[in-house]
C-alpha cells in the first residue's frame, strides 16, 4: 500500500509501540498544519540543500502543541504552556544555525505566552512561529480564548463573550516581526508557500493559521473547512473596504532588518576588534 508522502518525517513505530495515529480529534486543523509544515520543510530541504538535522520543532502546550509531542522524526521538544518561544530563544542562542519552527496555539501564544510572543517579535529572533488559531481552548474542553470573537458562547462564556478578540498578526507586526502572514487550513498551498518563506526569513516569522475545531464548535470537519474558506478575504480586498465581517488573510508584512543573532554577533566582533587594537 502506498503511504502518505510525509510519513517519512514521522515516527510511526518505536521501541515502546506505535505512535500514530495523532492524538488529535477527527478533522482537527492542527494535523493539517503539521502536514503543511512538513511539506514546507521538505521543499526547503530539497531546494536549499539543508539537512533534516538542521531543523528543530518546539511547541508549548495545547492541541497544536501536541504536534511536537513525540511524532516527529526530527529534533524536537514539547515544552511548557506558553514558554515555547522562550525555549526556542535558548536553542537559537546556543546554536544559531538551527532552523527552529515553533508550533503554538492561540491560547499558548496569546494568553499564557503573550508576553513572550511580543518580546520574541520585538527582538526579531530568527524563528518561524506557526500559530494554529482555532479561537478557543480545545484540549481543556472549549473554553474562551483571547482570539474568541465577541458574543461567542463557550463553556466559560455561557452567556456570550464580553471581550473583544486579539488580532495576532497586527500584534506581531506592531511588535516588530519581520514576516507576518495569516492563512487558514482551507488555504493549503498558500500556507505551505508562506511557511517556506517564513523558514527562509532571517528574523521572526509569525504565521497565523486559522483552524477548525469540529468537536467544540459542533460542525463536521468538511463544513468547517468550507466555512473557513468563506469567512476569509484577501488583504487587498479588505483594504478596499470589501471585507465585511470576513477575516483578512495574506501577507501583513515582509521587511528586512538584522535579526537578534546578527546584532549580537556585531557586538562580539566589535569587542574582538577592540581587543586586537589594544594588543
Amino acid at each position: 500500500m502506498k503511504k502518505h508522502p510525509m510519513l517519512k518525517y514521522l515516527k510511526e513505530e518505536a521501541a515502546a509501540g506505535p505512535r500514530l495515529p495523532l492524538i488529535l480529534c477527527p478533522g482537527c486543523g492542527a494535523g493539517q498544519v503539521l502536514n503543511y509544515a512538513l511539506r514546507a520543510v521538505d521543499a526547503v530541504i530539497q531546494e536549499d540543500g539543508l539537512r533534516k538535522e538542521d531543523f528543530v520543532f518546539i511547541s508549548g502546550v495545547g492541541c497544536s502543541s501536541r504536534l511536537a509531542s513525540h511524532y516527529l522524526n526530527f529534533d524536537s521538544a514539547w515544552t511548557l504552556h506558553g514558554r515555547a518561544l522562550a525555549v526556542a530563544t535558548g536553542a537559537l542562542l546556543a546554536n544559531p544555525k538551527l532552523k527552529i519552527i515553533v508550533f503554538t496555539g492561540d491560547g499558548d501564544a496569546a494568553a499564557i505566552g503573550g508576553n513572550h510572543l511580543i518580546h520574541t517579535c520585538r527582538r526579531n529572533l530568527d524563528l518561524t512561529i506557526l500559530c494554529v488559531n482555532n479561537g478557543l481552548y480545545g484540549m481543556t474542553g472549549g473554553q474562551v480564548a483571547p482570539t474568541t470573537p465577541f458574543g461567542v458562547r463557550t463553556v466559560t462564556t455561557p452567556y456570550g463573550n464580553v471581550e473583544d478578540e486579539f488580532d495576532l498578526c497586527r500584534l506581531a507586526q506592531t511588535a516588530g516581526a519581520t514576516y507576518v502572514a495569516r492563512w487558514s487550513t482551507a488555504h493549503p498551498h498558500q500556507t505551505i508557500k508562506t511557511i517556506q518563506k517564513g523558514i527562509r526569513k532571517n528574523g521572526t516569522a509569525f504565521i497565523e493559521i486559522l483552524s477548525q475545531c469540529p468537536v467544540h464548535l459542533k460542525k463536521t470537519p468538511a463544513e468547517m473547512f468550507r466555512q473557513l474558506k468563506k469567512s476569509t478575504v484577501s488583504l487587498k480586498k479588505a483594504a478596499a473596504g470589501r471585507a465585511g465581517s470576513r477575516i483578512p488573510v495574506g501577507e501583513f508584512c515582509d521587511i528586512d532588518k538584522p535579526d537578534w543573532i546578527t546584532r549580537y554577533q556585531n557586538v562580539i566582533d566589535r569587542l574582538q576588534s577592540d581587543e586586537r587594537t589594544h594588543e
Partner: protein
C-alpha cells in the same frame, strides 16, 4: 488509473479529502468501519487528475494517491 490508498489505522474519517477533491473522484464509504469512522473510498478514479490535494489537506497522513508514475518506480 490513479488509485486511492487509505490507511485505516490512521484515518479518522474527517472526509476533508472528499470535500476538497476538485474532480469528485472520491466519496465517503457507505459503511462505518470498526473504529466508528466513515472512511473515504474511490468513486470514479478516471476523474482523478493526480493533483494530490487530498494528500495535502489530510490531517492524519492517512490518504495517498498512487499514480502511474509511482507504479513505474
Amino acid at each position: 488509473m490513479n488509485k486511492l490508498h487509505v490507511n485505516a489505522a490512521y484515518c479518522k474519517g474527517c472526509l476533508i479529502c472528499v470535500e476538497v477533491c476538485p474532480a469528485a473522484a472520491i466519496r465517503p464509504c457507505p459503511m462505518i468501519n470498526s473504529r466508528g469512522y466513515t472512511l473515504p473510498e474511490e468513486d470514479d478514479m478516471s476523474r482523478c487528475t493526480g493533483c494530490r490535494l487530498c494528500e495535502t489537506v489530510c490531517p492524519d497522513f492517512a490518504v495517498a494517491i498512487e499514480t502511474d508514475e509511482d507504479g513505474g518506480e
